[in-house]
């Protein structure tokens, strides 16, 4: 146990921070039915990094991060602007298209660059096991700030996510609030993906939210359920990775899947 904590306290801490913000955002995302928006935004951020590399900045350069962020903002604008009151084309279709285009464009740009390929791939893979203290602190501060913004404007975000038609009727500027939502979401996803990788971030967003829907009907209930579920699964997944010496991110992601299966069985038994 002591050995476990000595070796794994940093990943554990990072996982708890991820649980805090991503479960909350995940409940929104599932409610809005834009499940793959995080994959698309992460890919857009990677595209931003590719462009920065082509301009001659290396991976560690400060401007590279701003390129990634800038690209994410553009993505946020696209997602905010493509929502309309009577949706003919589903939002998921736009997200899928943006994802495929961003990924392909990155391949095209990289095919003529002398280096950087591995760094960009690393950005989408991440490794939660090797997270360091300064990354954790940066993540905690940034996510706390964004969490506060969401707390301050929780009513309007909640209304738009759960009942957009009512929001339109009340005359809420959905486009503006969507832009705020996707920008804050993009900032979080960009930094989470760099630390934990796309798969793990995706699991943190979606699995707790979906599990919560099985048992709770209110937003608040789902949030609390998701948080508890996320904390338990993070601890189990990290233990599995430690005991069986398996890649950490994938262990936690699979534990999320296993947790969801167990909960669905429980749910169907006690209906």
């Amino acid at each position: 146990m002591e050995d476990f904590l000595m070796l794994m306290w940093k990943p554990l801490f990072a996982c708890l921070i991820l649980t805090g913000i991503h479960v909350y955002l995940g409940v929104h995302i599932v409610e809005r039915q834009v499940i793959f928006v995080d994959l698309a935004l992460a890919q857009i951020a990677a595209l931003g990094i590719v462009v920065a590399l082509l301009f001659g900045f290396d991976h560690e350069h400060v401007l590279t991060y701003w390129f990634a962020l800038g690209a994410t903002f553009i993505g946020a604008v696209v997602f905010a602007c493509t929502r309309s009151r009577r949706q003919k084309i589903p939002q998921e279709a736009i997200i899928g298209i943006v994802y495929a285009m961003a990924a392909s464009l990155a391949i095209l740009l990289l095919s003529h660059s002398p280096e950087g390929d591995e760094h960009v791939r690393h950005m989408l893979v991440g490794n939660i096991l090797l997270v360091n203290l300064s990354q954790i602190i940066k993540m905690a501060v940034l996510y706390a700030v964004i969490g506060l913004i969401h707390w301050r404007f929780r009513k309007v975000f909640l209304l738009i996510s759960t009942d957009p038609q009512e929001a339109y009727r009340q005359g809420v500027s959905i486009r503006f609030w969507d832009l705020v939502f996707y920008i804050t979401f993009g900032v979080i996803v960009t930094s989470s993906v760099e630390i934990a990788g796309v798969l793990l971030v995706f699991s943190y967003l979606i699995v707790p939210a979906v599990s919560a829907i099985l048992f709770c009907s209110t937003f608040k209930g789902r949030l609390i359920f998701g948080w508890i579920f996320g904390v338990i699964v993070s601890s189990l997944g990290l233990s599995l990775s430690y005991v069986a010496d398996l890649p950490t991110g994938a262990s936690v992601a699979c534990t999320f899947g296993a947790g969801l299966v167990v909960l669905s069985l429980v749910r169907s038994l006690y209906k």
């Binding site: 070796l7 290396d58 095919s111 390929d117 096991l129 090797l130 990775s241 069986a244 010496d245 950490t248």
Partner: protein, 310 residues
């Protein structure tokens, strides 16, 4: 199924042996951890019984993109000496050292041994990059595939370990020179085995084989993929067909972890043979140490070349 049994097996092993709780090691055995199996094997040649040597990255996978596990972090945490290849071979090295938090390896420490020191790097960029502090020696990091460089590596290891453990310096030096004389004898054999094929043009999957080809005097005329993970363009394929025809290329060399489809297709069109060569000790079961690794690669290449002649 295979994966599942592996997981169950490792769970059992972990539970029964408790590998992670301090293994019983007598205090005077030096604990060395190297980034790759080849570096570990060379360190073992130099230290003999004086050290326990372990490595991080699996020799069966691409070392650049390896992703360390908790056990790897633990290995680094309890080690006395850390050996790495430098030159951006191990992109995961710094995060791993940081995660392990072993004070012996943080900052500029002489317990961290960097093996590319003293080696003539190939394909290094003309201008130095603007990164601050340490010199960015990019260039091709697969220098251990040339036996000539391995002499340098072994000398360097004996010297650096001798500075850390002056009481053992004579043993290190003796082990190193014994290994080198075995290696030299082998080098004569390898050179004569491959002598009929000197100056032959070959194609490689990626620029992994520059040092190896230099040493054995092959000419690498082209690479299958300009970048790993990015499929060659139609133009590049046509270029490959043409250059392979004009230079009479009979052999395509690839590492085990690269896909086989593209080289196979190119080989089918041009009548060449694809030969899969491991990069590291343990990459195939025959490659039990460095000499066995080169032995294996030489025999595979010889077979591929002679097939082309017939």
């Amino acid at each position: 199924m295979n994966m599942l049994s592996k997981i169950v097996f490792s769970l059992c092993v972990a539970l029964t042996s408790g590998f992670i709780t301090s293994p019983e090691v007598s205090a005077d055995v030096i604990k060395i951890v190297a980034t790759t199996s080849t570096f570990a094997s060379l360190a073992k040649e130099v230290t003999g019984d004086l050290a326990e040597v372990d490595y991080v990255a699996s020799p069966k996978r691409n070392v650049h993109t390896y992703s360390p596990t908790p056990k790897d972090v633990f290995k680094v945490k309890i080690a006395d000496v850390f050996i790495h290849g430098g030159a951006d071979l191990e992109l995961w090295k710094s995060p791993l050292l940081e995660a392990a938090g072993n004070p012996a390896f943080l900052g500029e420490k002489n317990t961290v041994i960097h093996l590319s020191e003293g080696i003539q790097m190939l394909e290094a960029p003309q201008e130095l990059t603007r990164s601050e502090g340490d010199i960015h020696r990019y260039g091709n990091p697969h220098y251990w595939l040339s036996p000539a460089n391995v002499h340098i590596i072994v000398n360097h290891l004996a010297m650096r370990l001798g500075q850390l453990y002056p009481q053992h310096v004579d043993v290190f030096k003796r082990n190193a020179s014994q290994f080198q004389s075995r290696l030299k004898k082998k080098e004569v054999i390898w050179q004569s085995e491959l002598s009929p094929y000197v100056q032959q043009a070959i194609v490689t999957y990626h620029r992994t084989w520059s040092y190896f080809s230099n040493y054995f005097n092959f000419i690498v005329v082209a690479e299958i993929e300009p970048k790993p993970g990015i499929a060659p363009s139609a133009k590049h394929l046509i270029y490959l067909y043409e250059i392979m025809k004009s230079k009479d290329v009979k052999v395509i060399v690839k590492a085990p972890f690269y896909e086989r489809r593209t080289p196979k297709k190119v080989a089918d069109v041009t009548g060449a043979t694809v030969v899969t060569l491991p990069l590291d000790v343990g990459g195939v079961k025959e490659a039990t140490d460095f000499i066995a690794l080169i032995d294996y690669n030489v025999s595979q290449l010889k077979r591929a070349f002679s097939k082309g002649v017939v």
